[in-house]
Every structure is written in structure tokens, then in C-alpha cells.
């Protein structure tokens, strides 16, 4: 296998790892927004749950306790957002912003109080982290031509949550299209009065949607601190929640398209980190910083309606008020 092909393989491998938290968060945003609740608090939930996972895994010594804590913290942050937006019909943007800023402050404040390490958690040991899973025959097949290395490098050797992310996408699609919850969820984001008139509670439906969003963000957060990294460091979400939001919009609020967008944005990140300092014939040094911004630019261009219209759920952002 040529060096170039091997580099590509490594980049794709990194793409999968970098796309994983984006996929969970994008799906979380999708559930929330398809129900009509704008969710810019993906970033905060990601950060909060990353901290919870790191801290609890470190204290209990169990990665799964960490995952559980991450999901719990993320759900409770969702509920704060829901309480403001659903129960009190507050502004969804302001509420999301509050959750994000709170997460920034609380993670570090609590981190310092618990571990006295400037907001970081201690480096996690093997039992406190997710370990790579070698798929069967990976070693044996590694020598096989072409598909061998692909199987060994790209498909095998990831952590549990990476595989879970790729299972979550068809699962989310299935829930949306093939279940009662999914049907009502799609309906409530488009036309809450239709749901109400069918005798279904709009608030409870939306609460369930933001709880699902909480669960998914929680897994993403646990991935950051206990699978991708080896502990929590301050601001470790680093805008990934917003990238996921962009990916979800770029995917037009649909699971498979969102997956595609996450992979694309993950690839851009993976590629840019590999290209730092690499010189190209005409353009000179690779513009890696601009590559990292590309997801945002592409999303704006999409929103402008220049390639196909991205139609948001029509009730998105509007609190449901029955009586005037």
C-alpha cells in the first residue's frame, strides 16, 4: 500500500473519531428541533456531560458510571432549557445561551472544587476510559490487499461509542419514521395545533423530545472525556456543539443527511490537522485555519438558499400558545 493511500486511510480513520460527537449532538439537535425547540445549548450540554463523565469516571473508577452521569447531567440541562422554553415560553435562543454560559462556568468551578487541577479532571486510567474494540480477524485480514487495511485501520479498532454513533443514525431515522413518538414529534414541530387537536399534549411531547436530546448529548460528552480524550479539560467542547448544530441544519433536519454533514465536517477537521505546515505547489502552505471554518461558511451558504432550500420545521422557535 502506498504511503499516500495510507495517509488517506489514517485521515478517514480520524474522520470517524472526530465525527462521532458531532453525530450524537446533531441527532440531539434534530430531535429537539423537529419538535419545535431551537437547541443552541448543544454546546453547553456537550461540555457539561463531558465534565460529568470525566469526573464521575475518575471518582468511581468506572467508565460506565461516567457515561450514566453524563447522560443524567445532560438531561437535567435539557430540562432547564425545557422549563424556560416549554413551560414558561421563554426565548429559546436566550435560554440556550444561558445554558451554554452556565456550563462553561460550572464545569471549571466544580472541577476546581473537586480536583484542584485548574478545572481538569485527573488523567483517567484504563478502566475509566472506553477501550478500542478490535473486530474479529482484523489482524489476520490486515495483510489482505486493499480491503484488508481498510478493515483493520478504518473499520476495526474504534471505541464502543463510535460504533454506537453509527448505529444511532439508522435508529433515529427508524424512530422518526416508524414509531408513534416519531410521528407525533414530526407533527408537533410543524403544526402543534394539529397535535393538540388530536388530543395529544404538546408540552409533554416537547419535553420528551428535549430529554432525548439530553441523552444523546450526554453520550457525546462522555465520548469526549472518556473515549476520545483521557479526562476532562476546560472548554473541551470547543465549538463542537455549534458545528453539530450547523451539520444538522446542513443536513436539513434529517438523520442521514446530518450524518453525511457530520462526516464531511469531521473530515475537514481531520484533514486540516494533517495538513498543518504542508506546502502545496501553487497555494503555498495549506490554509488549515480556513478549512476549519468551512463548515460554518457552507452552512451560511446553504441557509441563504443558494443550493437547495433548507426548510426548518415551521413551528421552530415559536412557543405554543393556545389562547390569545
Amino acid at each position: 500500500m502506498s504511503e499516500f493511500a495510507f495517509q488517506i486511510l489514517l485521515t478517514l480513520d480520524a474522520t470517524l473519531r472526530l465525527a462521532t460527537p458531532l453525530i450524537f449532538c446533531a441527532l440531539a439537535g434534530l430531535f429537539s428541533e423537529r419538535s419545535g425547540i431551537i437547541d443552541i445549548s448543544l454546546e453547553g450540554k456537550l461540555l457539561g456531560s463531558a465534565f460529568a463523565a470525566g469526573a464521575v469516571a475518575s471518582v468511581t473508577g468506572s467508565v460506565y458510571m461516567g457515561l450514566l452521569a453524563a447522560v443524567g447531567v445532560s438531561i437535567s440541562m435539557s430540562l432547564v432549557h425545557g422549563f424556560a422554553c416549554i413551560t414558561h415560553r421563554g426565548n429559546q435562543i436566550i435560554s440556550g445561551l444561558a445554558v451554554n454560559i452556565l456550563a462553561s462556568g460550572l464545569t471549571v468551578t466544580l472541577g476546581i472544587a473537586l480536583f484542584q487541577r485548574g478545572g481538569q479532571t485527573p488523567t483517567l486510567g484504563p478502566n475509566e476510559r472506553f477501550q478500542p474494540i478490535e473486530l474479529p480477524f482484523a489482524d489476520a485480514l490486515a495483510q489482505a490487499p486493499l480491503l484488508g487495511p481498510v478493515y483493520d485501520e478504518l473499520v476495526s479498532g474504534h471505541k464502543l461509542l463510535v460504533y454506537l454513533a453509527f448505529i444511532a443514525v439508522p435508529l433515529a431515522a427508524l424512530v422518526l419514521t416508524r414509531t408513534r413518538f416519531g410521528l407525533r414529534l414530526r407533527a408537533v414541530g410543524e403544526s402543534p395545533e394539529a397535535v393538540d387537536s388530536a388530543g395529544v399534549s404538546v408540552p409533554w411531547l416537547r419535553y420528551r423530545a428535549v430529554i432525548v436530546a439530553g441523552i444523546l448529548c450526554g453520550i457525546a460528552g462522555a465520548y469526549l472525556s472518556t473515549a476520545h480524550g483521557a479526562g476532562f479539560i476546560r472548554e473541551m467542547s470547543a465549538g463542537k456543539g455549534y458545528i453539530a448544530l450547523a451539520a444538522m441544519i446542513f443536513g436539513k433536519w434529517r438523520p442521514w443527511s446530518a450524518l453525511f454533514a457530520c462526516l464531511l465536517f469531521g473530515f475537514l477537521e481531520a484533514a486540516s490537522s494533517r495538513l498543518i505546515g504542508v506546502e502545496f505547489p501553487i497555494i503555498g502552505e495549506a490554509p488549515t485555519n480556513l478549512m476549519l471554518v468551512l463548515p460554518y461558511i457552507m452552512t451560511v451558504v446553504l441557509l441563504a438558499g443558494f443550493f437547495g432550500r433548507a426548510e426548518a420545521p415551521s413551528a421552530l422557535g415559536t412557543p405554543y400558545v393556545k389562547e390569545h
Binding site: F83, G90, S104, G105, L106, I112, N289, V300
Partner: protein, 372 residues
């Protein structure tokens, strides 16, 4: 809903915001308690740190300057019912504008020409950065919230690229421009007051503070005393009435966002021309986001914004004392307080409206019923 009486204006403007702020501070106190410290002692240290230590007032006012600009920026857009959360990016790019003028011309122009030019550039670049989201909102219907978030990140990418590339000071590795020459630096308050015989302690407070106050007057005049402000407020209260009145809605959206972006850009005057005297990464440090909290608390009015900016200025300056005094609480506590203020003064602003309105209504009715 129909049974809730309307809240009297004094309670809506005065009482409710104060109650919300108190709740936010109480919850912050609980967080301090939770990490094992004494909230009262924290308040004491912050108050001393913000106002009493030598030079601390100057620092407080220096932070206040930033918040006035970003708070005003949010408020102007808000009067047109636009939520500009791109202040951070607009300030960042505004700094680029000021910086480019200084880097290009500080060798040839005297300060009296150069600094005003740089100030104009800061406003123009900030306004320019707001234009694309504004245009997309006005003519393509793309939500300005999402596009301004995206533009914050794009601004960060642009600045990193420029500061690591063309603008980097030759011969160093950290992404920072060269220092501007003396004539591009806005004078410190200490120097100016010293010149007229008033001695104050050294602090980053500079003449930009005066510019911030001027910006308040400007916004007050613009919004409440001009035709343009009238159009903006009409649009913000009722797009239907705006259409009836013949106000050109897309044009008004774009103009309001441009003013908003320009004000955000001016924040860079304080940081870049007043304090840092060079371009560097992340000089906006989240002040653009804090502007949202400031505007919410200040109810989008310049006087309210000055008061809220003072509060946040004091929190920031007092908060930095926390680092020194406590093992467990640091200035990150500020973000907690800020988040709680946005939550209770913003997202949950009207949570207490119904009970408060009922309480006031029942108090108001009681005396009248008594004689009957």
C-alpha cells in the same frame, strides 16, 4: 392566561428585573456554598476588589467600557426585533479594521488623524461583518441568530489565519501583530487626568470610556429621537404597522444590523487601541456574549445598559480578586453568575410575572373593598 391582570409599569420596569437579578445572585450564592466557600465573604471580596483597592475602580470602568459597547450593539438590533448574537465576531473584525489602519499608517499619520481613522475603521469593519447576516435575513429570510453564530466562528478563523500569517510580527512564533507606535495609542485616563493635576492609580482605563458614554448618547438619540429610530422601533413592535406606515422593512433591518455591528466593532477601540496596542488572538474574550446579558438586564435602554455594564464590570474586576483570595473559586464563577442572570433575567424573565401581577392586583384592590 386571561385571568392574569396586567403588571403595572413601575413593577415591570423596576421591580421584576430586580427580583430576577436577586434570584440569579441567590442561586450563584448557592453554587459558592456548594463548592464549600462562604458566599458573603465572596461578595465582600468582590466588592472590595471592584471598587476599593487601589486602581480597582479604573479596572471596573475599563471592563464597563467593553460591556457598554457590546450591550448597546445587542440593544439596537433588538429594537428591530433582531437577535444579533454576533457581537463577538463583529468586535473581533472591528479590531482587525482598527489594527489594519494602525499597522498601515502609524508611521505616517499623527495621532489626531490616525486614531479617529482607526475608530471609524473599527466601526466600519464591525458593521460590515454584520451586513451579510443582515442581508440574508432581510432578503432571503435566513435566521439572523444562526447566521451570526456562524459568523462568529468564521471571524475567529479569519483572525487566526491573518495573525498566524500576513499580520504576524516577523521573527516570532505566537500569532500577534507588531506593536503600534505611540501615536496610535489612545491615552490612558491616568495620563489625561494627571495632566490636569488629578492623580489616579494606574489602570487600563482610557479615553475609550468617554467614547462609550458618547455611544450611549448616540444610541439614545438615534433610537428615540430620529426618524430612523422611529422606523426601527415600529418594525420591532409591529411589522404590520411598519408595512402600513410605508417603512421599508428590508432596508431598516440591514441598517439596524449595521449600526449594531458598528457598535460591537467599537469595543475593539478600547481593547486594541486603548489597552493592547497590537492585534492578538481572542482579545474579545467573550465580551460580545456578555453584551447579551447586559442588554437583557438593561432592558435595551442606554441608561439600563450603563448600569448593567457597571454591574458586570464590577463582577469581572471583583471576580479576578477571587482567584487570589480563594482556593476553590476563580473568575470562572463569573460565567456562572452571567449564565444565571441570562437565565433568570432573559429566558425566565416573565416566570414571576403572573404571580407578581396577581399579588399587586390583590394588594391594590383590598383597600377599596374594605369600606364597602
Amino acid at each position: 392566561m386571561s385571568s392574569v391582570p396586567p403588571l403595572p409599569r413601575w413593577a415591570d420596569v423596576g421591580l421584576l428585573p430586580i427580583i430576577n437579578l436577586v434570584i440569579a445572585l441567590l442561586v450563584s450564592g448557592l453554587v459558592v456554598l456548594a463548592v464549600g466557600e462562604n458566599p458573603l465573604r465572596a461578595i465582600d471580596i468582590m466588592l472590595q476588589g471592584a471598587f476599593l483597592y487601589e486602581g480597582s475602580l479604573g479596572y471596573t470602568l475599563y471592563y464597563t467600557t467593553n460591556f457598554i459597547f457590546t450591550g448597546l450593539a445587542v440593544s439596537v438590533a433588538f429594537h428591530a426585533l433582531l437577535f444579533n448574537i454576533g457581537g463577538e465576531g463583529q468586535a473581533y473584525i472591528g479590531g482587525l479594521g482598527a489594527g489594519l489602519v494602525c499597522l498601515a499608517l502609524d508611521a505616517v499619520l499623527p495621532g489626531l488623524v490616525l486614531i479617529p481613522l482607526a475608530i471609524v475603521a473599527a466601526a466600519a469593519f464591525g458593521a460590515g461583518w454584520a451586513l451579510a447576516p443582515a442581508w440574508l435575513q432581510a432578503y432571503r429570510g435566513s435566521h439572523v441568530v444562526i447566521t451570526t453564530i456562524m459568523f462568529n466562528f468564521i471571524a475567529a478563523g479569519v483572525m487566526v489565519s491573518l495573525l498566524a500569517g500576513p499580520l504576524i510580527k516577523p521573527g516570532q512564533s505566537s500569532p500577534t501583530s507588531r506593536r503600534f507606535s505611540e501615536n496610535a495609542q489612545i491615552p490612558d485616563m491616568q495620563e489625561i487626568l494627571g495632566a490636569v493635576g488629578i492623580e489616579i492609580a494606574r489602570s487600563p482605563l482610557n479615553l475609550s470610556f468617554v467614547l462609550a458614554i458618547a455611544a450611549c448618547v448616540f444610541v439614545w438619540l438615534l433610537i428615540w429621537h430620529t426618524r430612523f429610530g422611529y422606523a426601527v422601533r415600529t418594525l420591532g413592535h409591529s411589522p404590520q404597522a411598519a408595512a402600513y406606515a410605508g417603512i421599508r422593512i428590508p432596508r431598516t433591518i440591514i441598517a439596524a444590523m449595521a449600526v449594531s455591528g458598528g457598535l460591537a466593532g467599537l469595543m475593539a477601540v478600547n481593547e486594541v487601541l486603548g489597552v493592547q496596542h497590537r492585534l492578538l488572538l481572542n482579545f474579545t474574550a467573550g465580551y460580545g456574549f456578555t453584551g447579551i446579558a447586559v442588554s437583557l438586564m438593561g432592558r435595551n435602554h442606554p441608561i439600563g445598559i450603563v448600569l448593567a455594564s457597571l454591574l458586570f464590570g464590577a463582577l469581572y474586576q471583583g471576580g479576578s480578586e477571587l482567584d487570589l483570595e480563594f482556593q476553590t473559586i476563580t473568575r470562572d464563577m463569573l460565567l456562572v453568575i452571567q449564565g444565571l442572570i441570562i437565565l433568570f433575567s432573559g429566558a425566565l424573565a416573565y416566570m414571576l410575572n403572573p404571580p407578581l401581577a396577581r399579588l399587586i392586583a390583590s394588594l391594590a384592590h383590598r383597600p377599596r373593598e374594605a369600606p364597602a
